[in-house]
Each structure stands twice: as C-alpha cells, then as structure tokens.
C-alpha cells in the first residue's frame, strides 16, 4: 500500500514542482491520498478526516526542501503527527498492590486468554513477580481449560471454580486466596463480550467494582476495522480502562485500529501481541506503529538523514553542472562521500519500502566504495575534470596507483559515462518533447511484450 500511496503522492506533487512552498491548493490532492491511505489502513473515518486537517495546517507554508521530494516531506509531516498521536513514550503497568490486580477485558476472539498467559509469563520471568491467573470466563466452552493449560505451561497457579457461574464472586475469592498465598500480581481473564450487550457490560463493571484493579486493560484485535471506534468508546465509558493491548500484530494488517482507539479514548497502548508463542509479547513503540499504518519502511529516517547531510547549495550547483554536462569525477566523489556519510549502505537500502526483505540476506560489499574512491583519488585533477583524456596508459597508471586492476578502472569509467548520460537525460527532462517521451514509452511497451 505504501508504494501505492507513494506513487499517488508523486502524481499529486507534480503540481508542487517549481513552487517553493506548500500551499492549500497544491496540497489538496495529496491530502486526499493520505486520507485514503489511512482509511485503507482501517483508521476510523472521522479520525482520518480530523487527522488530514491537522496535517494540512502543519504543512501549509512550509518551504519545499531542495534535497527532498515534496512527497517525502508531506509523508514526514504525516508520520510525525501520527507518532505524536500514538503517544510520546511507553507507559508501563502498575504492579504495586497487595496483590496488584489486572483486569483483562475485550471482545470475543480478541486474544484475552492468550494475552493473560503471556503477561503472567512476562511478570514472572522478567519482573520476578509471583503471579496468579484467574479464570473469569465462565461462558465460552473450555475457556477455563484453556487458561489452565497455558498456566501449566508457564508454571503459574490458576484460580478457577469450575462449578461457579458468577465471575464477580470468583474474582473476589481469587483475590483473598492470592492474599493468603502472598501473590504479587493477580491477572483476571474475563469472557469476551460485545459493547452493546448491556447485561454483560454490567457484569464486567461489577467485576471491576468488586476487585478495584490497579490496571484494567482493553484487548483489541489489530485487524479490527471501523468498529474499533465504537467498541473502544463503549468499553471506556463503562470501565474507564487504563490501557490498551493490541493483539495479532504479527499479521500483515496495517493496524489503523490502534490510531482509532488511541484517539478516541486517549489511553496508552501498553502491550502488543506478536505471535502465538508465550514470549511473543512486546511493549508498544509509537513510531513503529506510525510506520506500519502508513505502510512504509523507514523512509522517514531516510529523509531525516538526507536533510542532515545534504547541503542545499551544493545540490543547486550540482544540478547546474548536470544540466550543462559538466558533471565530472570530482562531483562523483563528492556524491559518493555524501552517501557514505548517511550510513551503512545495507541500512540505507533497507529503509526503502519493500527493500528490507530483499537485502536482509544479501551481502552488500562496502568495499566497493573504497575501491571507487581509491581509483578516483589516483587520477590527476585534470583527469577528474575531463575524463575523456583518460587513455590506456593513464588507466594503467591509475590502476597501479589505486591498488586495483585495469578491469576495475575500465568498469568505473564506463559506469561513470553511463551515469552521466542518464543524469543528463533526467536533469534536462523538461526539454524532452512529447514526441520523444512517447517514442520512449512505446519502446518500453514493445520490450515488455
């Protein structure tokens, strides 16, 4: 989807090219695309609308940075706003109490039981707490059994009353039992319920009143659509919960529900479920979630890095040289060093959406750059400015001086010539006639056949 948004933004910003500033008119189309991207990610309808309005306010009047495409600049604003909305920093859970009580609530199938067991495991093994699980789902067939099995796997006691159908009473007795046993944290698993089920909502409210939990957590499936807004609102009205747990994030959903819930109830997302294994519970990273909703790799960091490293004046000079076909080895070297300053190549490539997977298992040889640098540095200033004069004997000298061989020198010079040709074509692109473009397009079409 990101590629989709990206290319749509590209179209939108054809308008902006040549304008130095983002204005209401040239941003409208872009924002429409941003809004659609959010809706495709399942962000609530009204939330997406409010959000794009906010982005508009932020973006209008900003100068278009020369080094960065305006598309990327907008994406960065969107991303920054999104991250801000997701919550600044991580919020932990309160486990002080005698015992501390954590009430786990949510819709059917959101993953409450699995989360309860994962949380018990985390508190026990990472925080050194003694934990008790309470089987408060007395409705779903085998729900108690499920909790018992999970608890056994992680060696945590379960309080259950198989004959009792009253979760309020069960929870109360569980807490007295935990007190006697000196347990630190009690986690109460409850039955899934719909927010419009008055009877069941009254029940969960009664449980909360009876046990006065330190933490009431609302568990929500990351794949939830527009209904996330309603459900979160209703649960919060009745329970005023303390935090949100986002489950099944190991799927490929964009997880716009996270933004909906967060915006509607203004409560922190405390945990995310990222797998079926008992350890697969993670704390929440607002920035990662923003990336995910927008469906992008770390293009934002890429933009930030570019902003840090690339001198705008240099870029302007380079542009001029390119269009006048004066691009030489000195410029090439400068470019090379700028890219190197931006960091590890593999990391950089990984920031490009869709590329992370591809480069994960491949080795990108950083030495390639070292050799190129050495070859260029072995050229005389005259050769660097005017590569045409580099003949056979000069090449031999350069190869020797750089500790490489003739093939490598030849390859670089050829590559440089090719690059120059391509770059000139692009920088002079405005002058390309329509006929030329069509000709090229047809050629491509033919080739694809």
């Amino acid at each position: 989807m990101f590629d989709n948004l990206s290319s749509k933004l590209e179209q939108s910003f054809r308008l902006i090219k040549g304008h130095g500033r983002i204005t209401e008119i040239n941003i409208a189309e872009a924002l429409k695309n941003v809004r659609r991207a959010l809706l495709n990610a399942d962000v609530g309808f009204e939330i997406a609308r409010d959000f794009t309005n906010k982005v508009k306010e932020k973006a209008i009047g900003e100068n278009v940075l020369k080094s960065v495409h305006p598309k990327q600049q907008i994406i960065k604003i969107v991303h920054d706003e999104l991250t801000k909305l997701m919550g600044g920093e991580q919020v932990g859970i309160n486990t002080t109490g005698d015992p501390a009580v954590i009430l786990v609530t949510g819709l059917q199938g959101s993953g409450k039981t699995t989360f309860s067991a994962k949380l018990a495991y985390l508190l026990k093994n990472k925080k050194n707490k003694s934990v008790m699980l309470v089987a408060g789902d007395v409705y779903r067939p085998a729900a108690i059994e499920q909790l018992k099995i999970l608890a056994q796997q992680i060696n945590v006691p379960v309080y259950a009353e198989d004959w009792n159908k009253n979760p309020v009473k069960i929870s109360k007795s569980a807490i007295s039992d935990a007190k006697l046993k000196g347990i630190d944290v009690v986690i109460i698993d409850t039955a899934g319920r719909l927010a419009i089920d008055k009877k069941m909502m009254r029940e969960i409210s009664n449980i909360k009143k009876a046990v006065t939990p330190q933490e009431t957590l609302f568990v929500v499936d990351a794949m939830t659509g527009q209904d996330a807004v309603n459900t979160a609102k209703e649960f919060n009205n009745i329970l005023n919960f303390d935090g949100v747990v986002l489950t099944k994030l190991d799927g490929d959903t964009r997880g716009g529900a996270a933004l909906s819930v967060r915006t509607v109830v203004k409560k922190p997302i405390k945990f995310v479920g990222v797998g079926e294994k008992i350890e697969a519970l993670d704390v929440f990273y607002p920035k990662r979630m923003a990336d995910r909703i927008l469906g992008m790799g770390d293009i934002v960091s890429f933009v930030e890095k570019a902003q840090e490293q690339i001198d705008e004046d240099d870029m302007r000079i380079l542009q001029r040289r390119l269009s006048k076909n004066q691009f030489d080895f000195n410029d090439f070297l400068k470019q090379l060093r700028q890219i190197k300053k931006m960091g590890n190549i593999k990391d950089l490539v990984g920031m490009i959406p869709g590329m992370k997977k591809i480069v994960k298992d491949t080795d990108i040889n950083e030495d390639v750059f070292k050799n190129i640098e050495a070859i260029i540095l072995s050229m005389t200033p005259e050769e660097r400015e005017n590569p045409k004069i580099i003949n056979g004997s000069r090449r031999q000298r350069i190869a020797k001086g750089s500790g490489t061989n003739m093939q490598e020198v030849n390859r670089l010079i050829k590559q440089f010539a090719d690059t120059r040709k391509i770059m000139q074509k692009y920088s002079g692109g405005n002058k390309m006639t329509k006929a030329m473009r069509n000709k090229r397009r047809n050629k491509w079409k033919r080739r694809r056949k």
């Binding site: 659609r36 809706l39 495709n40 990610a41 399942d42 609530g44 309808f45 819709l107 059917q108 199938g109 959101s110 993953g111 409705y139 779903r140 067939p141 085998a142 729900a143 059994e145 499920q146 018992k148 099995i149 999970l150 796997q153 719909l194 927010a195 419009i196 499936d221 794949m223 939830t224 659509g225 527009q226 209904d227 996330a228 309603n230 459900t231 099944k248 190991d250 799927g251 490929d252 959903t253 964009r254 716009g256 529900a257 079926e276």
Partner: protein, 317 residues
C-alpha cells in the same frame, strides 16, 4: 423448505435488532443529506461515502458503488430518497455473490453416494471457527443429517475440549486426538471413520492461523491433500470464517486462504455487535466467493444462511 428456515420472522427481528444502531445512523444521515434536494450533490455523496466506509466496505468498493450510483442517476434520473435507496441497494447487492439458489445449500452432493460431504473450516485466530462448527453441526443434525466432527485444531490450548463440548451440545460424534497431534492425521481419521459409519456431512476444524505465515498455510494445504486419500473430492466445501468486525485486512485473508486452500464459501461472524461486516461486499465482488452464513450470537441457534437481499436491506432500511 430451506434448511435454516431462512430468515424466519423471529430471526429477522434478531438480525434487525443487531443492526438497529447502524440503521438509525444510516437512515438519519442519508435522509438529512437528501432532504429537499432533487439531485445527487456532493454533500450527499460525502455522506454516503462516510456511511459506506464506516461499515468497513473499504475505499475502493465505496468508490465503485458511488460511481455506479452516479451513472445510474445520470441515466434513470432520481426522485427522492425512496428511489435512491432502492438504487443504492441494487448496486450493493449487485456486488455480492451468493449461492445461485437456496436449494444449493440443501444439496450436499459429494459426487459419490457413499462418500460424506466434507466441509473444512479455515480462518485466522479468534474469528469463531469452533463456535460456527458447533452451530452448523446443530443445524445439520436437526435437519436429520448424520454429522461427524474432526478436531484438527491440535495446536491451541483446549481447542479440542472446546469442540468436544459443542459436539455434545449438538449430539454428534467427534474424532479427536491429543493436542499437538498431526492435524492432517486427525482429518484423515475423521473421514475414515465417517465413511465407515455412513455419515452424510463431515466438518473439519482447523487451528486459527495468520495468513502471512507460510508454513502454517502449507499445513492447511497438506490437510486438504490428505483428505483426498479417503474421499477423492474432499473437501467439497472450504469455508473461510471472517470476523465481522475485521477491517480491510479481511481482503488479504480471503486472498491468502484461497491461495492455500481454494476457499469456496464464506461465513461472517459476530454480526450481532455494532460491526457491519461491510468488507465482505468487496471480497465477494473481487473473489467471487459466495457468502454462505452469518453468525449473530453465541447461542447454538445463532447462525443464519446468508441472504444478500436481507443483508443489504438491513443496512439501508
């Protein structure tokens, strides 16, 4: 007479009740947008867009519906809310494919009189697969069919126990092994024993799995393959269960499960809440997979045969 007493008045009332909140919103907004106007204007389309997207219909399908509506309005002209409502319903219903005829749902033809009709249940975690099986078993049994259940969710804790309880409630036999057993082996055993005992219908439960986990999707393909050794045409039906509150990710679910197992029917669950399950409209349109059942509650009777007219009506009444 159709199997489920399709949309008997009482059940219809229940569905209406479940969808009531939606309807009030939809109706109010649309009426407001249309009031006193003689043509479709931007304000109306904006409102319509909001309504459709808020039902999880998704932006692409929403635009498709709006485009079609505009084209119809240009051609037919439109007069007042009633005409428009009908047009809208027609357009949405047009995107939904369903079983060609209701009789089809009654025709458990396995192409071989000795073989049972095999239904394999697939879906992501927590959508309500096991509950749906319980309800289906109850309905088939009530209809006088001999039903067998296969507990091939051998992964999730207490999944076997859960299905076991449903089997008892419905009064049908179940074939099971221990948690951790090979699910394909369980499916194999179930078919074998169902065939020996001349069962009419077999329903195979499978573990919930996220569709982006390749090894788990491969496992499904294997379960499917192994069943053919007993019943060559099995599974006759691969029923994908979608949670009605799921958003646009349901598309990807439909795509990946179809890739692994050739899904040929869909059931949408949890439609008794505020979620509208609008995403199935786009899915049905794009993948041409009929929506067969909808789940509207936790009781054993709370399953209905899907009827697109009723579904769309309930949204826009």
């Amino acid at each position: 007479m159709a199997l489920f007493g399709i949309f008997s008045k009482k059940k219809k009332e229940k569905l209406d009740k479940g969808l009531k909140k939606t309807k009030e919103n939809v109706f109010k907004k649309l009426t407001r947008a249309v009031a006193g106007k003689s043509k479709v204007d931007d304000n109306f389309l904006d409102n319509l867009e909001e309504i459709l997207i808020s039902s999880d219909i998704g932006i692409d399908t929403t635009l498709k519906i709006i485009d079609r509506l505009e084209a119809r309005v240009a051609k037919d002209k439109y007069f007042g809310i009633n005409g428009l409502n009908k047009m809208l319903k027609d357009e949405i219903a047009g995107l939904l494919s369903e079983n060609q005829s209701i009789e089809n749902t009654n025709n458990w033809n396995s192409n071989n009189t000795n073989d049972p009709y095999v239904i394999m249940i697939v879906g992501v975690n927590g959508v309500g697969k096991t509950t749906t099986i319980g309800k289906l078993a109850h309905q088939f049994k009530k209809d006088g069919k001999k039903v067998y259940l296969g507990a091939a969710d051998t992964f999730r804790a207490a999944a076997v126990e859960q299905l076991d309880i449903w089997a008892k409630r419905a009064g049908v036999p179940i074939v099971k092994q221990k948690t951790g057993a090979d699910p394909a082996a369980v499916a194999f055993d179930t078919l074998k024993s169902a065939k020996t005992n001349n069962a009419d219908i077999v329903i195979i439960d499978t573990a919930g799995r996220l569709h982006n986990k390749k090894h788990l999707m491969d496992e499904l393909s294997k379960i499917k393959r192994v069943m053919k050794k007993i019943v060559p045409n099995a599974p006759h039906e691969i029923l994908l269960i979608l949670d009605g509150s799921t958003g646009q990710n349901a598309f990807e679910q439909a795509k990946q499960f179809t890739k692994a197992t050739e899904v040929n029917a869909i059931a949408v669950t949890k439609l008794d809440g505020t979620a509208k399950g609008g995403v199935v409209i786009g899915i049905s349109d794009q993948f041409k997979i009929p929506v067969k059942y909808i789940g509207i509650g936790e009781q054993i009777r709370d399953l209905q045969v899907f009827n697109k007219k009723e579904f769309v009506d309930s949204l826009f009444k």
